[in-house]
Amino acid sequence: MEYFVQQLINGVALGSIYGLIAIGYTMVYGIIGMINFAHGDIFMVGAFVALITFLVLVAIGVTALPLALFLVLLVAMALTALYGWTVERIAYRPLRRSFRLAPLISAIGMSIILQNYVQIAQGARVKPLPPLITGGYTLFESNDFAVQLSNVQILIIWLTFTLMIAFSWMIAKTRLGRDMRACEQDARMASLVGVDTDRTISLTFVIGAALAAVAGMMYLLYYGVADFYIGFIAGVKAFTAAVLGGIGSLPGAMLGGLLIGLIETFWSAYFSVEYKDVAAFAVLIVVLIFLPTGILGRPEIEKV
C-alpha cells in the first residue's frame, strides 16, 4: 500500500510534465491540423534555457531560491516562446497552402535542426544541475517504507495545476481564446469576421512553447540533468498522451499526460524499468484500436 501511494505521487509528478507538453501538440493539431514534431525539441530548448539562466543567476549572485525560480521561469518561457514562434514562422507558415504532408516533413526537419544546434552549441554530454530544491515531507510510514512527497514534486504538481486552470480559463473566457477556438472550428469564417488567423496561429505556437518551457524547467529540477536528446523521448511520450486523451482536446491532453505518467511509473515499479516505454506505447495501441478518437476526443462529424 505504501509503495503504491509512493508510485502514485511519482506518476502524477511525471504525468504533469507530459501533460504540459501534450497541450502544445493538441493545440497546434486543433488549429492547423498538423503534428508539430519539433515540439519535443522545443521542450528540450526550454530545459536548456532554464539551465543556462540558473547558472547565470548563480554567477551574478542571485541566490534567493524563490526569486531565482521565478526569474528562470519567466526567462525560459519568454525565450522558448520565441523559438516556438520562429519555428512556425519559417518552417510552417510558408507551407500553409501546400499539401498536408509538407509541414509535417518540415517539422521533422526542424526537430533535427534544433537537436543538432543544441548539441553543437552546448556539447553532447549530459549537463547536470545540482539539486536546488531539496527536502520534502514524509506522509506516512510503516513496514519500513516511508511515503515521501518531495518539495520538487509539490512544486511540479502545484505549478502544473495552476497553469492548467489559468490556461483553460484563457481558452474559455478571453478574446484570444475565443479567436483560437474560432480558427480551430472554421478558420476561413474566422477571417471573414475579422480575425487575423496567421497571428492567432502564431500565438498558439507561442503559448504551446511557453508551456513546454515550464515542463522543461520542471524536468530539469526533477531529474537534475539535461541533454540535447531529452526532447525526443519526452516529445513522443507527450504526443502519445495527446493522442490517448483525444488529439485536439485540451482536457484530453491533461488527462492523457497524467495517464501516461502513471502507466510508466507503475510499470517500472511493479514489472520492469526496461520495458516502461513499451508499456506506455502498448496502452496507446490498445486505446487506438478500441477508441480511435482517444478518451475525450470527438469523432469527426461532417458539418452540414
Partner: protein
Amino acid sequence: MTGPLLKIEKLEASYGHVAALKGVDIEVNAGEIVTLIGANGAGKSTLMMSIFGYPRAQAGRILYDGHDITRVPAHEIAKLRIAQVPEGRRIFSRMTVLENLQMGATVGEPTHFPKDIARVFKLFPRLQERINQRGGTLSGGEQQMLAIGRALMARPRLLLLDEPSLGLAPLLVKQIFRAIRELNERDKLTVFLVEQNAFHALKLAHRGYVMVNGAITLSGPARELLERDEVKSAYLEGGRPAA
C-alpha cells in the same frame, strides 16, 4: 462619396484549372439592395467569396468605396465594415449563440456591443431564447438568423448574403427577407444578395444581375428582370437556363 460602394471590374478567378468567374462586372450603390441570381454552379458563391480573396482574383479589380481591395487580406476587409453571411451559414458550431455574436463583433467597438446585441435580439427574438445554446444544435432557420445576426454585429456598411433562403420553410424565408428589407429601409444598409430563389430576390431588390457559367448575361432594375422572358423561363417557372 462618388461612385458605387462596391465595384467589381472584369473579375476572373478559378479553382485550379477550372475557370469559375470569366470577367464579371457588378456595381452596388450605397443604400441599394442588389441581387445576383443564377443556377446552381453558375459561380455566384465564388464571386461572393472572391470579394474576401477566396479564391484570389487572377484578373480584374474589386473596388470598395473607391479603394482597391483586390489583394487585401480577408481580416482587413472585415475591418472595412463588409460583413458576409456565407454559403452554408458557417456558424461556429461548438460555440454558443452569444459567442458567435461576439465573434461577429470582432471588428466592432466594445462599447457598442450591448446596443448591437440588443438590436439583433429585437430583429430575431428567437436568438435571445437560445443565447447559451451551441450553434450546432440550432435549427436551420435559427442558424440562418444567427449568421445574419453575427454579420450585423460588425455594424456593416455592406452586407453580403449568400442564399439566406436555402433549405428554409416558406414562412421563415418571408421573415428573413422582411428583416433584410427592414435593415435596408431603416438603417440604410447596403445589401448584395445572392439567390437561387429568383422570384423572392427580385421582388426584394432594387437591381439585379443574372449569372450563367461565370459570366453576367443580364442586368437591370429588378422589376424589369422579373418581366423578362429569359428570366421567367429560366428561373421563375422551373425551367433550366439555356447555357
